[in-house]
Each structure stands twice: as C-alpha cells, then as structure tokens.
Symmetry: C2
Subunit: 336 residues, 2 copies
C-alpha cells in the first residue's frame, strides 16, 4: 500500500484519511444533463456495451462533483444477459423465460463480457480516483431470474427457495461462479474496489438470509480476498442483515437511511468500515435541511472508517447542484 | 374487565392466556373463495358502504379459521374519500387532485361514515371474538394524499414535509382529528381494539419519523386512552421505529418479518405486547417449512404478551388450508 492511499481506499480499510470520502450510488445517470445529452436513444445494455461511451458516462459525475470514487457505468444483470435478461426502461430487469426448474440451470452460463473489462481499462488510465466495480448479490440476482419482472414480495423466489432447497443451492452455486468471475475480471482490469448490490436481500427474514444465502455471499467474498480490493456489501431494508454482511467477509458495510450509523456500528462491530447513509430524497429538500441531515450523518460516524454516500441511489429528479454542495460540505467539514 | 377476558385482549394487555391468540392481517380478502363469491363486481369502497356485506366479509375468516379476533372489512382511506381518494384495483389508493398546498387543507374535512359504525354494530352483536377496528397512521395517510398514487420512495411527501414544516404540521393535525374521530366511532360502536396501520412509516429515517410524525401518532393514541381499547401500531420496514411506537403509547407493537421477535422485544422494552411476525410468503411454502417457521416465531416470543400474526397482510395467492393449519398449530402448541 502506498503512503498516499486515496481517501476512499483508506477509509475502506479503516486507516486515517485527510477527509471523509464521498461518492453516490447512481451518481452516473439520469439526474445529470450531460448524461442525458450523451446517453443516446439505445437501451442501457447497449450503452454498457460501448466502452468509450460507458467510460465517459462513468467519468461525468467525477468531473462535476469531485467525488472520491468513480463507479463503473454498468448493470448488475450484465453477466446474466445470456439467460435472456433485458432491462425495460422504467421497469427494470425482465426475463423472457424465468428460472423455474432444474432444466433452467443449463441456460445459466458464465459469459465473457470483454466490453466491461475494456471500459474498466480505459477508466483505470483516465481516472485519478479509485474505480468501484460491482455485481449483484446472490439473492438479488436470483430474484430477477425467478420473478422475471418487478416484484413486491419476491414470493416466487422465496417459494422456490423453500420448496426445492437442492435446486436453490445449485442456483446459488452457479450465481456465485458467475459473480466471482465478473468481479475478478473487473479488478484485474483495473477496478480498485468492488460493491456487491444485495439490493433486495432485505426482503428475507434474517434467519432465511443466513441459512439460504449468506454461505453463497461468503464464498464470493472469500473468492475475492487474494486480490486485496476492498469489498463493500449493500442492500436496502437490511437493518437486521448488517452483522451477517460483516461476518461474511465484507470490508465495508453499506447502510440504508433507515438505520442510524451509530446503531449500524453497534451491529457490525469494530474493524469494518461503514458506507452511507443519507436518505436520497433529502436531496430534494431545501439546502439548509439537506446540510443539517448531512451533518447528522457525519456526526453519527465519528472516528473514521466512514465513506459518505446516500442510503440508496440518486433519484433521477435530483438537482445536481445539491450533490455538488453536498460533496463540498463533506470535504470541508471533515478536513483534518 | 371480566375474568374470562378473550385471549386476544388478554395478550394485548400482557395478561395470562389459555393459548397464544392468532389473527391475520387481510384475513378477509381475495385469498378466500367465499370472499370472491360474495364480494360482487363493485369497487372495494362500494362493498365497504354496504354494512350487511362488509359484516359478512369480516365474519368469513373467523368462521373458517377460528382466529381469535375479527378485523373490520374496511380501508384506511375511508375517512378520506371526501378528498377524492379512490381505490384502484391492483394499484391501491389514487387521488384525483393530490395535496399540494395550504388551499388543499380546506378539502380535508372530517366526514361521517355511518356505514362503518353500522357494520361494527352488526358485528358486535354477531361475533364471539373481539373485533379490531383500524385507521391509517399519520405518515401513511399523508403519503396517499400527497403522492396521489403508488410511490416507491415517497419523495413528494418527504419534500413537502421538509420544505414547508408549517403546512406539514397543519396536515398532521387535520389527519389526527380525522383519525381519532374514526377510531373513536369504531370503538364506541363496538370494536374492542384498534390497529393503526402506519404501513409506510418505515420509509422515513427514524429521526425524521420522530421529529415530524411521532408527536401526531402520540396525540392519536392519547386521544384513545379513555376508551380502554388496546391500541396496536404496525408498519413494514419499521425495525428502527419500534421503540418510538411504544413510547408514543401503543399497547401492542406490530413487527414485520424482518425483525426477530426477541430483537423486537429488546427494542420495545417490557410492558408492551408484540404482534407478528411470520413472513407472509412463508404461507406459500410446503407445510413442514411453514410449520417450522411458525414454531420459530412462537419460540422467539416466550412468556406471553404475544399475538401471533403474519408480518404483513395475507397474500391473495395464499391457500386458505395453510392458514387453517397455522391457527391449529398456534393454538395446540401454546395451550397452557
């Protein structure tokens, strides 16, 4: 490790930082006018397949906001496109023939995604802040494959998990392989850290997550250990899963806005960094309200080991000027 | 109080019970064939306005399942229909002209709902288990009025709350009056307990709920105290709000399936009953899995003060035979 480790990586490892680092989930995206100008009329998956474009979309928020990390412009379903996953605008991932039985395992193959590695390589050469690669978490990916479209309660996924534990276990194993291949490729191409978006894991009761999913998450995190890139795990509604994420091997536990960071710290224990956790809708509030809330987040995570972020992705209706001021506030109020 | 207090009411008050009482949120509804047969083609609000029909729909699950409480067939938007709230099938509450400014306060009037009291009176005479009346919680009702339709993030509601605290406070006050009038009328007509569905309160960070909503919830609960009917408060994703619900004056704190009941007990403290908290999707699992999960819920709430329920409403796809067996299991395994 270099002495001048960038603040984002230093905070991931719980080391001293010159200021609390900050980035935003979905910082690249529809909230930015320059994104809307460049993105073009094609689907998001088409944009992801164009390395020059994907790199540019990744760079836009770094330039505008001065955030401490870039996050790859991609999508968690990219390693699953061979299964027939598509992303419908405004709807999210849809699957033509959802995962229903053992026969569907054969359709779940690891596919090369050279365009992702190419985007990462372009960025690694251009960026002067760390690049975060990412993947979906095992439950989240399984839920897309099984539900086949938007779901409120993930009933079909859970019913499969409970009614056929053997098939569930094979599905988990297959997803672990695919996820690990994708994450390793991103780091080997130049990403400095990875985030696992276990976005919908919080739909499970903690005991179910622990029994049916956590071993797979542990496998994925362990399979990344030799690369030395910090591993972040995040999902919404995961207040009761935070300790599990830490035990599974996350270096950084992402926290949604429902759990104050001091409470999260007690659940996670020492020796792990925390990431979060401002309510994304607070960015729609008048600046003095937003500033107060940002200060409250900083105050709840004293003593380092904190990466400032929202508690979920940037809302498309967010005014970028609010995020600019937010970065400035976090940097200026935490400068040491 | 009679010596032979029904188990549901005894458990609400933390008194000894012959067995752990059980009822299900949305026990009356589309999962029951007899409901689909009787309900007719009209809207849900039309059905609610027909006391004989609403009473029959309330009674159906009591007859079939032998649950320990009936819950009024109604909807939390009933006291708000004068504002132009309707319930769209498959979508939920929709509002033609959402709440946006001070002028909208004038449209938010307390309206008499004699049909509700008539339904309650019919049921009070027919039932041999307690009847639960209910209302929406202050944030939940406000979110319907302000969003005007389904929402993922309640951004418009929160933005109003943060940008115009004065107007928000007046809205809260008006909703407290309307809610209290509705709940009191239900109890005076014969309901034995009430549940406040603060369904979407968990969308707020705990500090925001505490500052902007909890005082109103406290007012409503205090305004019910003289009637002696146990007061239940429930919402999903409320793991960090449970202590607040207890402090606000709830006699019973409802818990969704994300928080194990032993954890909920630590957060709520002694002297309050807990209600819940089986994952509703577990009812779609094979019976042995469902039975194990029900036993785990019972084991996490030893020592009384527990009302067995799901952690959210019955899913329409639930097989009623599963709920029948569940009631039987809870009763037989907790008989003292």
């Amino acid at each position: 490790m270099r002495a001048d480790l960038p603040p984002f990586l230093a905070a991931c490892l719980g080391r001293p930082v010159a200021h609390t680092p900050v980035w935003f989930m979905r910082q690249a995206g529809r909230s930015l006018p320059e994104y809307r100008a460049k993105r073009g009329p094609g689907s998001i998956l088409e944009a992801i397949r164009r390395p020059e474009l994907a790199a540019e979309l990744t760079l836009q928020p770094v330039r505008r906001y001065g955030v401490d990390a870039a996050v790859l412009f991609s999508d968690i379903v990219v390693p699953l496109v061979d299964f027939g996953v598509d992303v419908a605008p405004g709807t999210g991932p849809v699957v033509e023939r959802p995962f229903r039985s053992r026969a569907d395992l054969d359709r779940l193959r690891q596919v090369p995604t050279p365009f992702v590695e190419e985007t990462v390589a372009i960025l690694a050469a251009e960026l002067d802040v760390p690049l975060i690669g990412f993947s979906g978490g095992p439950f989240t990916l399984a839920s897309y494959l099984v539900e086949g479209g938007p779901s409120r309660d993930y009933a079909t996924t859970k019913a499969l998990m409970w009614s056929d534990p053997g098939l569930w276990s094979e599905l988990m194993g297959r997803l672990a392989d695919i996820t690990l291949a994708s994450l390793r490729a991103q780091v080997l191409a130049g990403a400095s850290a990875v985030q696992i978006f276990e976005s919908w894991g919080g739909a499970l009761a903690p005991e179910d997550y622990r029994t049916s999913v956590l071993p797979t998450l542990t496998t994925v995190l362990a399979g990344m250990a030799d690369l030395g890139a910090p591993r972040i795990v995040f999902g919404v509604n995961t207040g009761e899963l935070l300790a599990g994420f830490a035990e599974a091997g996350a270096d950084v536990v992402g926290v949604d806005w429902r759990v104050p960071l001091d409470v999260a710290r007690r659940r996670v224990g020492p020796g792990k960094a925390l990431q979060g956790n401002l309510d994304p809708t607070a960015c729609l509030a008048p600046w003095p309200v937003l500033a107060d809330k940002a200060r409250a987040v900083l105050a709840a995570a004293p003593g380092g080991g904190h990466i400032f972020n929202l508690g979920h992705g940037v809302l498309p209706s967010t005014d970028p000027a609010q995020l600019e001021r937010l970065v400035e506030l976090v940097h200026s109020e935490t400068s040491r």
